[in-house]
């Protein structure tokens, strides 16, 4: 009998089984449920009637400030007021209100997930929490069921293992590597799979940088994207977890559907070109493309390390007159840290706009909407057409590259500014 992957072991434990294999359907207990727009789920509860409370108020997290730092429409203001009331009504203990930030960062920052936990979220980027060895998977309307039962069904996925080795060049960041991986695997390359990451390069990354990899697995069609717990994870979780946890480790003889080994040493800055996050190209291929808006933020670019990278490029420089640079801290803690480190000063001196924390103009909700014919480069995870006006182009890149484009007015190699 062969050993098991991280995914298989967590699902086994969570469904009370000794072991599980790919293809099996299991029912797993859920340790955390994340939502940002539960309005219609509460309306659904009204319709079915008889709902008294969620299964465990401590395990449901609602972040109404995820998409907007302040309601930018009357509809949203009314919806949030309704959600606040309903959260109280159903005993939901964790409501992150307007201005508190991007829900995915909050889930990690505030210890709502932990190594070995099972988390689901009504947002495709829920895979993010895999970075601490938590099995985190997106689902949407189904979460109304999870809210009541505290359980979710899973089809045990086969696992794709991605091993990242080597050291990146200066000016090449975790985003470039993650983008490269996404490009190789492709938009459906991990369909119905779990993705697990390992390798010397990966183990040197901070939790926040690992989060980028976990998060982007959703753009590969993956069900989850995890890393094993290590010293970095344990240091991050110190004093943070809401309950004691027991990390899960993969067996040395675990069986993988596929193993991808990537050496990052020769990697150049990468960029995702329209119309898909998986359309990864060397940044040089897109150089010269004029941009009107640049955005540092989002769940793959709103952390303090991302801000430091962008600030490195911006320091002493000015945003190009024809460009709007919007900087969006991921959470209040990130915003505070940016202030302390003088990064806010760097950005404001450069002529950038800094908004309160939220997820940013990734979906063109709140502020930063593009007009027809405009082009944006950003550190966020998704550039699908229709996210903005029909005739716009969105490029995805590292904080270095995004800041560089903001200075130059066009896509350009950031290393000239470092």
């Amino acid at each position: 009998m062969s050993g098991h992957t991280l995914t298989e072991k967590i699902l086994a434990k969570a469904s009370g089984k000794k072991e599980v294999s790919p293809g099996e359907i299991v029912i797993a207990r859920v340790d955390a449920l994340f939502m940002h727009s539960p309005r219609y789920k509460f309306k659904h509860f009204e319709k079915i009637g008889g709902v008294k409370s969620v299964w465990d108020g401590d395990k449901v997290i609602v972040a109404v400030g995820h998409h907007q730092f302040l309601p930018s429409s009357q509809e949203y203001a009314d919806a949030v007021t309704f959600v606040r009331k309903e959260c109280k009504r159903y005993g939901i203990k964790h409501l992150y209100d307007m201005g508190t930030g991007n829900g995915h960062y909050l889930m990690l920052e505030k210890g709502h997930v932990w190594p070995g936990a099972v988390a689901v979220g009504s947002d495709s980027h829920t895979t993010a929490y895999g970075c601490i060895g938590c099995l985190a998977s997106p689902m949407n309307f189904e979460t109304s069921e999870v809210m009541l039962s505290g359980k979710a069904w899973f089809k045990v996925p086969p696992t794709l293992l991605v091993k990242l080795e080597g050291t990146v060049k200066r000016g090449v960041s975790a985003r470039d590597v993650a983008q490269h991986v996404l490009g190789i695997v492709g938009a459906d390359g991990a369909l119905w799979h779990a993705v697990e990451f390992d390798g010397a390069y990966l183990r040197r990354l901070s939790i926040q940088q690992r989060m980028i990899f976990s998060l982007l697995t959703t753009e590969m069609g993956a069900m989850c994207g995890m890393m094993e717990t290590d010293a970095v994870t344990l240091a991050y979780m110190e004093g943070r977890s809401r309950q004691p946890f027991e990390p899960v480790y993969r067996d040395t003889d675990a069986r993988y559907a596929k193993v991808l080994e990537i050496d990052v040493s020769e990697l150049e800055p990468q960029i995702a070109v329209p119309p898909q996050p998986s359309y990864t190209k060397p940044l040089a291929d897109a150089a010269g493309k004029k941009v009107q808006q640049a955005y540092v933020g989002g769940c793959t670019g709103g952390g303090i390390e991302d801000m430091r990278m962008a600030a490195e490029v911006m320091r002493g420089r000015k945003v190009h007159p024809e460009v709007r640079l919007i900087v969006v801290p991921g959470t209040v803690a990130v915003f505070e840290q940016m202030m302390k480190e003088g990064l806010v000063e760097v950005f404001t001196s450069a002529g950038a706009l800094i908004t309160p924390p939220y997820c940013g103009p990734c979906q063109m909700i709140c502020v930063g909407h593009l007009g027809e014919g405009e082009t944006m480069i950003g550190t966020h995870p998704r550039n699908l057409p229709g996210r903005a006006a029909a005739d716009t182009e969105i490029y995805l890149a590292s904080p270095y590259s995004t800041a560089a484009a903001a200075v130059a007015g066009e896509i350009t190699d950031p290393r000239q500014y470092l």
Binding site: Q74, A77, V344, L353, H369
Partner: protein, 423 residues
């Protein structure tokens, strides 16, 4: 016979030695600023059958264009972003060098920051709060976009010379009582028509002691008294502020000793308390303590009325080491990036973020309800400029208007509170 400041400004601008209140003059304009509605002028001209719309202005150096109401383009609706693209194209077409896009902040603060507002000058903007410039001894008054089309072509517009209401303020403001409370005292005591069509002149030792931020607040709010101008004399504070940034030369105005005033109001600042105007206007005003039982959901500080360093300093002073009440959303929006930076360097923004305040980028959103709209039944206390029914969202929301100190204290308490309880 001598002239008031308004008479002197309009005399100078219309090339006359002397003018009297009641007369109609055609006055040259020194400076204009137009924000998001700039594109409406081009559209209005086209709709009126003027081919090519707006093609030129009378003097490119005297026109500032920026985007502040919907900055950066908001909502999941491409219309606003489209409007911004159209504004940028229009600015290029006409060739206007002074364009700040979404990147500088709220128009009136940007104009002041960047030295376009000068003592003795005459400025019009398609915005009611243009009276704000009076704080820097500048005759500022609001017009509409349609009339602005005329000004853009000819650099002048017709005005009636207003009579002047003098407001004499003496007595030391007690701690916790601010310039905003002086204004609320006037609107609460004399009503919102006391300055209708008039020029206001603010004088007295209290006014002399007021910071420029305080004067800007009073001048800004004066439009709610019906005022055409709200003028302060230029003193050392004004001149020191202006000299390092003035875009052109200027000559302050002061009223003649024998100028004629229609009425004089006196205010004893030493007897003032923190005041609150209740929904839905600025006429019914009571001391903050009177409203202690009013629970709030949102607290706003910012806008062109109270988005300056002194206002943010009040919030930081009151909120230092404390936290916003869990059921309250507190928004602080510096009025421009210059103010944002100053507030940050002073440590105020960090204090506010630590307290759980939503520190916004400079834009007009929260004042107008375009950002942070109120749901039916909600209550907001604000240090922005207006509390009319439905202004900030639902007509079934209630808005109370007060000073930044009162708003900050209330944000901590979860209900309206006299700030002197916490300072």
């Amino acid at each position: 016979m001598g002239m008031t400041m308004a008479e002197k400004i309009l005399a100078r601008q219309s090339g006359r030695k002397e003018v009297r209140s009641g007369e109609y003059v055609t006055a040259k304009v020194d400076q204009v600023c137009i924000y998001d509605s700039f594109i409406d002028i081009d559209k209005g001209m086209e709709e009126a059958g003027i081919e090519g719309g707006l093609q030129r202005v009378w003097d490119k150096e005297r026109v500032v264009i920026l985007i502040d109401h919907g900055a950066p383009a908001m909502d999941k609706n491409v219309k606003m972003a489209q409007k911004h693209v159209a504004i940028r194209n229009l600015v290029k077409k006409v060739g206007l060098p002074h364009f700040f896009d979404v990147k500088a902040g709220i128009c009136h603060q940007v104009m002041v920051d960047k030295g376009y507002i000068l003592p003795g000058s005459f400025v019009v903007v398609p915005d009611s709060h243009t009276t704000i410039y009076g704080a820097l001894n500048c005759g500022g008054t609001g017009i509409g976009e349609t009339e602005m089309a005329w000004v853009l072509h000819f650099g002048e517009l017709w005005f009636q010379v207003p009579s002047t209401l003098k407001v004499e303020v003496s007595g030391a403001l007690p701690d916790g009582v601010t310039a905003k409370d002086i204004f609320l005292h006037v609107s609460g005591t004399y009503g919102t028509e006391v300055g209708q069509y008039k020029s206001l002149e603010w004088t007295g030792p209290t006014i002399d002691d007021l910071s420029l931020d305080g004067r800007l607040c009073i001048a800004n709010q004066s439009v709610e008294l019906g005022a055409k101008f709200s003028l302060f004399q230029a003193d050392q504070k004004t001149l020191d502020f202006v000299k390092s940034r003035a875009v052109r030369s200027y000559e302050p105005v002061a009223p003649d000793r024998d100028a004629t005033y229609e009425t004089t109001i006196t205010v004893n600042a030493a007897q003032l308390e923190p005041l609150v105007a209740q929904p839905h206007g600025l006429e019914v005003v009571h001391p903050a303590a009177h409203y202690r039982q009013v629970k709030i959901n949102q607290a706003n500080i910012g806008g062109c009325a109270n988005g300056r360093l002194e206002d943010i300093a009040w919030a930081a002073r009151i909120m230092k080491g404390k936290t916003v009440h869990p059921e309250v959303r507190c928004i602080v929006g510096p009025a421009s990036w210059v103010v944002y930076k100053e507030a940050m360097q002073a440590g105020y923004l960090e204090t506010l973020i630590d307290a759980g305040v939503i520190v916004c980028h400079p834009h007009c959103g929260p004042c107008t309800g375009m950002m942070g709209a109120l749901a039916p039944g909600e209550v907001c206390i604000t240090a922005t400029s207006r509390n009319f029914k439905g202004r900030m969202g639902s007509p079934e929301a209630n808005i109370y208007l007060a000073s930044p100190a009162t708003v900050a204290a209330s944000a901590l308490a979860g209900h309206i509170v006299d700030p002197r309880e916490v300072i």
